[in-house]
Symmetry: C2
Subunit: 118 residues, 2 copies
DNA sequence: AACGCAATTCGATATTTCTTGAAATATCGT
DNA sequence: ACGATATTTCAAGAAATATCGAATTGCGTT
């Protein structure tokens, strides 16, 4: 049943608004942001935002925690990494003769100086 | 316009049949597989397969090459890695104080012994 | 308890995506 | 050129997803 979860996660990310929201949260780190601030940054009405955050949450890509009146959302980094792992699993059949095509791109670059190019 | 391309790629992968097809191709390596064989393995009619492969191709995730009467499809590993990079870009704002949450999972495991568990 | 603020649920509409048979195109062998 | 094989294109109905205003719930303050 891993495939189904993965499809959910990919589908959750496959949308302008949600991708933007998710990336915002990835860049914000474990503390996350309150829904209202996300809605404001994305320029969409609250009810629309809720709809999209729920898809991300249902897919396990973001977590939710209440702080007083606000609901903070944060990226779930383990889920994100799990998703990536699933996509690339057993690349080239695990053959060592595969060449450099399976080489990872060093995802998630905390040790590097800021780079915004990709 | 990088966001739009990413949404396309994620959308292309966010479907049962297409995810299965893509993973099949990832595991098959650079040589890929002819359309007919993919359709057979997935158990779907040819016209349906074409529809899905086109989405993957349009998103740049697979390439196409003709060999006699057959059309071979293969995963585009650079595109896949670019997608992952975009998702995780500037994780935690690039702060070194972020902790282990941005740590990559060592995607693409070509040095492991064969495992077919998924 | 009453008020205000933050966010969600509901509902109805609009839009997009999926599916697959039938017909068309491309390539090969004879 | 003809027939067979491999795959794509077309069309249109079916299914899933997106949008957002109005009403509602949860929480804190007075």
């Amino acid at each position: 049943m891993k495939a189904k979860e993965t499809v959910d996660a990919l589908g959750a990310l496959a949308h302008d608004t949600r991708l933007e929201a998710f990336r915002l949260l990835v860049q914000k780190g474990p503390d996350g942001l309150p829904a209202g601030m996300i809605a404001e940054k994305l320029g969409i009405p609250p009810s629309s935002l809720t709809f999209h955050l729920q898809q991300l949450a249902h897919a396990g890509l973001v977590t939710q925690r209440r702080v007083s009146r606000q609901l903070f959302y944060a990226a779930d980094f383990a889920a994100m990494n799990g998703l990536v792992a699933y996509l690339t699993e057993n690349c080239c059949g695990g053959e060592t003769a595969c060449g450099p095509v399976c080489e990872p791109v060093k995802i998630a670059i905390k040790s590097q100086p800021k780079r915004r190019s990709a």
